[in-house]
């Protein structure tokens, strides 16, 4: 079963590199990550050996870049008609869904891995807490994974990649939104504490920030894992439901 999932993952992963998408994505991601970290985040000016300014902007980068990775997963198969081919090969639906997700996730992990020079730089300039940085990378990877799961599910609905992209940006924005300081402040004054906390616990941003601070809490990990599992499950339902239409 794992072997069959990897057959799909391998094909999908290589498909990213078969088109200019991979190069364009990687260049833009690295350029923007650098821009935010050094020019806007002021990594050098802060005079602290850590990567807070680097991770701080990841959710916003991912908000626009991750949907570009996930939008093709199913929409492309529908547009070219290969969905008919792949769903009549002896794969379980779960193998297809997880395989595609793993490929997209693997691809974003490649992008994250290519930011290693920034990590090396702070180690060269000072003595950062590498545990905190590792935890930040974990948070970043999980956040990208959650967005990808949302995007894969949305991509299953449509054969238009543009629709998949736009809907995914909106959905991921909502996933972040509940953690906005502005939204939190809005509720803080009057809403019961429980409501404010419930909203915050639904926010990818709050869980992400905990990880970036270096606090690896099981609840934060569980949040991201649940989002991924829930959306992949819905993805399978969408594909199965389309079959009966």
């Amino acid at each position: 079963m794992i072997h069959r999932t990897l057959i799909i993952a391998r094909r999908e992963f290589l498909a990213y590199f078969a088109t200019p998408l991979a190069a364009v994505f990687l260049v833009i991601f690295l350029f923007l990550a650098g821009l935010f970290t050094f020019n806007i985040g002021g990594l050098y000016e802060r005079g602290q050996a850590d990567l807070r300014p680097f991770f701080q902007y990841h959710p916003w980068l991912f908000l626009f870049l991750v949907p570009a990775v996930s939008m093709r997963l199913w929409a492309e198969e529908r547009r070219t008609g290969t969905i008919e081919l792949i769903t009549t090969l002896p794969f379980r639906l779960g193998e297809l869904v997880v395989g595609k997700f793993l490929a997209a996730w693997g691809f974003t992990l490649v992008a994250l891995a290519l930011t290693a020079p920034t990590w090396i730089t702070v180690n060269w300039l000072g003595e950062p807490d590498n545990g905190v940085i590792l935890s930040g990378y974990l948070g970043s990877a999980l956040m990208a994974g959650s967005f990808l799961a949302v995007g894969a599910c949305i991509s299953g609905f449509s054969k238009s990649q543009v629709i998949a992209f736009v809907s995914c940006v909106v959905a991921c924005f909502l996933l972040l939104l509940t953690g906005f300081p502005a939204v939190q402040d809005f509720f803080n004054g009057w809403a019961p504490r429980a409501v404010v906390e419930a909203l915050a616990s639904m926010s990818a941003l709050i869980h992400f920030e905990a990880l970036v601070r270096g606090v690896v809490d099981l609840r934060d990990l569980l949040f991201f894992v649940s989002v991924i599992v829930a959306f992949l499950f819905m993805n399978a339902l969408v594909i199965d439901w389309k079959k009966a239409l």
Binding site: I7, A15, G81, T82, E84, P90, K243
Partner: protein, 251 residues
Amino acid sequence: MSLLVETRDLHKRFGGIHAVRGVSLKVHRGEVLGFLGPNGAGKTTTMRMITGFLEATEGSAWVDGVNVALDPLRAKTRMGYLPEGAPCYPDMRVEEFLAFIARARGFRGADLQARVERSIEAVNLTLVRKQTFETLSKGYRRRTGIAQALLHDPPVLIMDEPTDGLDPNQKFEVRALIRRLGKERAVILSTHLLEEVEAVCTRAVIINRGVVVFDGTPTAMDALAPASVKVNRLDHVFRQLTTSDESGGRA
């Protein structure tokens, strides 16, 4: 003769449209069944229900004794399928694509390589094996689609318009291939070309508005035409059977 494909009272509704209305077929080993009908008659939908790509609204489909809806995984290992338009991943090379199909079909190592080579040879893809699918001509695309359907040597082959877009030479080759394959298998192919029915099929089924209106040998189909019709006799029968309830509009 062993029964390899059976549909029992298949129905398909798309919203308010009743596209397939009770199609029951039995196809045995050694039969090449030509599935005919006007556009929109329900040919592709019926084939999609047999392959499990679409779920039947009512009725059931069986492939080599396996119920497609209840045990789709096992049913899928027993058939090869060429979907309408022979879709394929545009950025993949022909041999990469066939290797992917072979892996998906559970082959590994030397066996995988041998399968890929054999299917490339079977439909003469040697010249284009290193080319990506998007650079192929329509004929080669179709042949790549046929190659992936044959790769695992399935007892059942289902092909939606296998010769569409091929030039006369390619048509001749593919038909010869289908005839050869049909001896040991059950083949269902859809086509718009009545000459194809005469050339390769042992049996013709005509479907019109989701209902089977003819099921018999090409010779029996020919016999339905009056003696006064000298040329294109199958075309005549086809028109008779598929336009009779439309006040003769299209004939």
